[in-house]
Symmetry: none
Subunit: 157 residues, 2 copies
């Protein structure tokens, strides 16, 4: 076993920042492209290509794995989706509609996730970046720990 537990954590951004005047060649509207796009609309979080492909299959839509890779890359090239890397190094995608910036507090035992806001962190990140002359900054923050229930369980062991 190699591709085991995915305890997402550090995420690295992708390359190109969305070009203002994207040269994007026009893509043809195929049912596969529509299916992928529709699936992304329903998903709030980042998904890997493999996951998206599995979701499409469960929905009954048939899109080959290779095509899923091609469409997702194409969307990313055109800046229509955000691309990051999960802890396992897999590329993960999410529709760009910034739904509001927030972070997660995750239980490493049961996986429960609590969304939290971090104005203080936002400000800190912006300041640090500015001090070092960095521009076009983004950031990721994740907190891992044991939720109350799991803390109790562990204590009783």
């Amino acid at each position: 076993m190699s591709q085991g537990a995915t305890a997402g954590s550090s995420r690295v951004p992708a390359s190109a920042p969305a070009p203002a005047s994207a040269p994007g060649k026009e893509q043809r509207v195929t049912k596969q492209r529509l299916a992928v796009s529709a699936a992304l609309d329903d998903l709030a979080d980042f998904v890997s290509t493999q996951e998206l492909h599995r979701i499409l299959q469960e929905r009954g839509t048939t899109v080959s794995l290779a095509t899923s890779y091609r469409i997702l890359q194409s969307l990313a090239d055109d800046g229509l989706v955000d691309v990051l890397r999960n802890a396992d190094g897999e590329a993960v995608y999410r529709r760009c509609a910034v739904t509001g910036h927030h972070h997660h507090l995750l239980c490493r035992n049961c996986g429960k996730a609590v969304e939290v806001e971090a104005p203080a962190v936002e400000a800190w990140a912006a300041r640090i970046a500015q001090e070092h002359g960095f521009t076009a900054v983004e950031h990721t923050v994740e907190i891992f720990g044991l939720c109350p229930e799991c803390t109790a369980l562990k204590a009783g062991e």
Copy 2:
């Protein structure tokens, strides 16, 4: 360019502190381990396992690729090196310049990394976790952007 791959069940966070009461087992001092450690001392930037292996070969030292992977992961587990992911999803390592807990400010174009400390974030993370009853917390924070040089380059395009 073709790259692919993933990382198997690798060690997770780049900034995860080693659990206080979970002492890593002592590793034996082998020539391979010393060679890897010495190479890391000479390298200022992050290197992938494959790159490090290539460097060792050029130096004349022989350390198998599999062993390079094992040693680097081991060092990361013990918190002796920083682990990140490059744009291709490869795991990259670098000896920790700062001994304490810290985070990174990364250039998404050239990969340059600056280590920064974030007492404010540490405090915030601890408070948030406490408010939600979480225990044994760790966290990861990464800031991405364009470094001064790359910002200038992009502007000139």
